[in-house]
Point group: C2
DNA sequence: CTGTGTGCAAAGCTTTTGCACTACT
DNA sequence: AGTAGTGCAAAAGCTTTGCACACAG
C-alpha cells in the first residue's frame, strides 16, 4: 500500500513544494511521527530506509521545508539544530544531561511583551528553551 | 594609565581564570561595555587593538569564559552565537532584518513553569528569543 | 626535572555554493 | 531549443582537538 506516500505528497503540495523523490523520502522521515531530529539523524534515517540521498540535499531540503513552513527549527546550540514536525507555537525543554528535547505547552507560560516590542517592529517568532539537568 | 587593565584582571581572578595576555585582551573587548558579540567580531576587535591572538584561542577562551560564568551565550541560529557580557537572566529581541540583538527585561515575561518541569530535573537555564521584523 | 596549564596549527565538523542535469514549455 | 528548477560534489566556514611550549613546584 502507498496511501502514506500519497499523504506525504499532498502535504508537500499544500506547502508549494514540488514533491520529488528526495523530498518525499525526507518528508516521510520527518512527518512519520512527532519528533525532533537533527540533519545528521535525518540523513541516517533516509538512507537506512532505502535509496541514497546526499548530505547536501538533506540540508538544502530541510532549509526549504523550514522556509515553506512544513517543519520548524529549534536552535539549542550551534551545531545542534533540531527540526520539529510540530510547527505551532510551543516551547521546549532541553535536558543537558541526556540531550533529549521535549515539548512543553505554551499555556504554561505567559508573555506580557506585547506592549514592549522595539519601535517599528512586529513579532515574527518566539523561541523559548528551558534547560534542565537531572536532579537525581 | 592601566587601571582598566587591573579591573579586568580582577574580574578574571574572581572567576578563577588565570589572567594571561590573551585572556586579558579578549576580556577587555567583551567587558568594555554591554554588548553582544560573535566569536568573529571578538577576533577582529582583539586584533584591531594590538597583538595577534589566533582564532582557536578566541573560541577556546570564550568557551572558558562561558563555563566560568564570566559571559553568557545567546544562541540565535547556528553559526550566530553571541557572547553577552550581561550574565543575569534576561531575554533578547533579535531583529531578522537588521541582525541586531537587543535585551529585554525579564519583568515583561512571566514563566509559570515551576509546576511542570519534567520529572527528576531541575532548571539550569532559560533562553528566550523574540524574533521581530521591521514593520515599516 | 616533572606536572599542570596555555595557545595555536591542523584536523574535523557542519553548512553552503555552484554547476551539471533534468524536466517541463 | 530555451527556461526554470533540482541534487550533489566540492568548497567554504566554523569549531574542536591534540600537541608543542611555558611556567611553577
Amino acid at each position: 500500500m502507498n496511501k502514506p506516500q500519497d499523504a506525504i505528497k499532498a502535504k508537500l503540495l499544500e506547502c508549494n513544494i514540488n514533491p520529488t523523490f528526495q523530498r518525499n523520502e525526507i518528508a516521510s522521515v520527518m512527518l512519520s511521527k512527532p519528533q525532533h531530529l537533527s540533519a545528521e539523524q535525518v540523513l541516517l534515517l533516509v538512507n537506512a530506509n532505502d535509496g541514497h540521498v546526499s548530505k547536501a540535499t538533506v540540508y538544502n531540503t530541510l532549509n526549504l521545508f523550514v522556509a515553506k513552513g512544513l517543519v520548524s527549527e529549534v536552535v539549542i546550540d550551534p551545531s545542534k539544530i533540531f527540526y520539529d514536525s510540530n510547527t505551532s507555537y510551543h516551547y521546549h525543554y532541553f535536558n543537558e544531561d541526556t540531550g533529549e528535547l521535549h515539548d512543553f505547552e505554551s499555556g504554561d507560560m505567559n508573555l506580557n511583551s506585547n506592549s514592549s516590542l522595539p519601535e517599528n517592529t512586529v513579532q515574527s517568532g518566539l523561541d523559548v528553551v528551558v534547560r534542565v539537568k537531572n536532579s537525581t
